[in-house]
């Protein structure tokens, strides 16, 4: 019986492409992917993929000949989901695309194509939700600050949107779960991290304390809460739809759902 192979890699897009290169050059195709730091499985051989920019670029150039730009976006964006199930599907998608005569990107009857496309859709939905539900608070020095906890790592994807929208402001969006953020000033976003004992981790629901806030901040928050309550038509209450559109897991950081 042939033995099963498991590939361990660094969970980057380049790592994935290198894995494809390795698979073709070694003629062994893995049955699963694990992260580099994960525990090795007992009954399978493990090959550790060493991410190589050159090999990845070679695979990518080959892929560009086989897939449209849209499909390539779909592949790269789906990586942001960080779903452990995704990697093997993604790998098989890339392998199939490379060996197929014509582009397989619209064959949604293929489970791998469908899985990757659906993951892409999920990431896009999360990205849209972050564009909707980011709530800035003005700090005492005029920076706008927002804290988020998205399901997928979509902060880099919403960056262009906010950079265009608030290009003259200084702002900071911080992903608490993944412990990094982007600080935008002088028309340039910078990736930032904070020490574990930093004040930013001591804000329970992302709300700035009184001395951190701008003097007018609480006033505008109050106005927004008032508006949110006033605009609802009581005769048409529909709590089920409300929770569907505005899932409870986002309420924590929403100004209108916080208590004054």
């Amino acid at each position: 019986m042939e033995e099963d192979w498991v590939f361990a890699y660094d969970r980057t897009w380049e790592g994935m492409l290198t894995a494809v290169f390795d698979a073709f050059s070694r003629r062994c195709f893995p049955v699963a992917f694990i992260g580099e730091e994960e525990v090795r499985p007992l009954f399978a051989s493990v090959h550790t993929v060493l991410t190589d920019g050159e090999r990845a670029a070679r695979v990518f150039r080959a892929l560009q000949k086989k897939l449209s730009a849209q499909a390539l976006t779909c592949l790269t964006v789906s990586m942001f989901s960080e779903l452990p199930d995704l990697y093997i599907h993604l790998f098989r998608y890339v392998c199939k695309a490379l060996t197929a005569e014509k582009s397989i990107e619209t064959n949604f009857a293929d489970p791998d194509v469908l899985f990757v496309t659906n993951t892409y859709r999920k990431v896009c939905r999360e990205r849209l939700r972050m564009m909707q539900f980011v709530r800035f608070q003005k700090t005492a020095d005029g920076t706008y600050f927002a804290m988020i906890e998205p399901d997928y790592d979509v902060l880099p994807l919403i960056l262009p949107h906010f950079s265009d929208r608030f290009s003259e402001e200084r702002w900071l969006i911080f992903d608490r779960r993944r412990r990094y953020g982007y600080y935008y000033a002088d028309h340039q976003p910078v990736r930032v991290t904070f020490d574990a004992q930093d004040a930013v981790f001591r804000l329970p629901d992302g709300r700035l304390t009184e001395e951190m806030r701008d003097a007018e901040e609480s006033c505008y928050q109050e106005l927004w809460r008032t508006y949110f309550k006033a605009v609802c038509i009581r005769e048409r209450l529909n709590p089920r739809k409300h929770k569907k559109d505005l899932p409870v897991r986002y309420w924590k950081y929403l100004t209108e759902k916080q208590k004054p």
Binding site: L114, D141, E168, Y183, F228
Partner: protein, 464 residues
Amino acid sequence: MPLRNLFRGGTFFEGKSGRRGTSLPRFSYICGNGDGETERMKEDTLKKLRILAESAKYDVSCSSSGTVRRNTKGGVGNTVGGVGICHSFAEDGRCISLLKVMLTNYCIYDCAYCINRRSNDIPRATLSVSELVDLTMEFYKRNYIEGLFLSSGVVRNPDYTMERLVRVAKDLRTVHRFNGYIHLKSIPGASHELVDAAGLYADRMSVNIELADEASLKRLAPEKDHASVYRPMLYIQQGALESAEERRRHRHAPRFVPAGQSTQMIVGAAGESDRDILSLSSALYARPTMRRVYYSGYVPVNTADPRLPVLKQPPLVRENRLYQADWLMRFYQFRVEEIVDEAHPDLDLEVDPKLSWALRHPEHFPVDINRADYEQILRVPGIGVKSARLIVCSRRFGRLTSFDLKKMGCVMKRAQYFITCGELKGRGVNELHPERVRSLLTHKTSEREPDAVQLHLDFKEEPV
């Protein structure tokens, strides 16, 4: 205080000078530094905002779609286009995309269905132009809203009111360089010049028809008629077409109401049928620049008026069915005569209009998923635009089975009676009777049946 001190230990500010943004002069009309005067002003604005939001909320339009505009240098905001962004959702399930307020809820008109009518004894308020502009900018910068939806009660005369609306939009666009979304109501009876001026600043404009039937409109709103609604609609259409023509010649000619116009009809306040409403919508959609018709189930705000029906609850299901029919006309290539006709002037409240059409026309089914045209697949209940596109793309690679369809997101519960895909030998709508299919699909299982595979142990109490 620089941010560095706020988040102690921040590692990213090295080498960055905390340059003050090149922000515009501050307009602090609302919130001040906490002395008595500003405290009072804040209370005042809170009250006004509450009153005016409550007055504006019965207008259902809230979309921020239709325009794509990038930010300009030194400006604030952009407009993303596509389906727009909804920033929040109210507890009644409607989205909050725009700051929807009235400039004032004083009104000289006395329309029976409207909460702001002259004869109602409600709290009245007026926002000043600067207050509203400040509110919009501050809300926008906190990412609460996508822009402004501005409407107003009619004070003095239509032109006076319209001019104030235009001033708000103009201030936002020119003084504050606001590039977010602006939706302006055109006041019925406003002059052509003012509509033209408004169109240069607004993304979308709207005039509400309110009632599909002109006689009912005259009965319920004695000061209005359909002509006063259609005239501003025509002005908007004319302006948009002229601007499009102009922009073909000069790339930088100003845009005029780039997101087109919308309108709204109240459902259930007078005796009109769904056929009246949908025929009018269909005629409106045939016009250039008309993008959306909204349907608003009548909420009984003025219960004492003898001209209005007594409703226990707003007609929410009917409203939902009308929207579904609207979608069929806009995205599913249905004609209005197919959805409602003389024999069926009202939509079926029990099943959705697409299923209702399919049950009335079993001769169009079953549809072969692997061969039929896109248009035919679109007409299958349970298959939407997205699934239909996926089907058409995927079947080039091989035959599709019902399993694939399910994976793609088709609602097989409904679709199974109307399709064939080679292997499925189930009984379709023609073998069963349409009536039978209807009862199968509308029948609700009140309680979950116990799982047949699960062994059921019946511990009866032993008689002592």
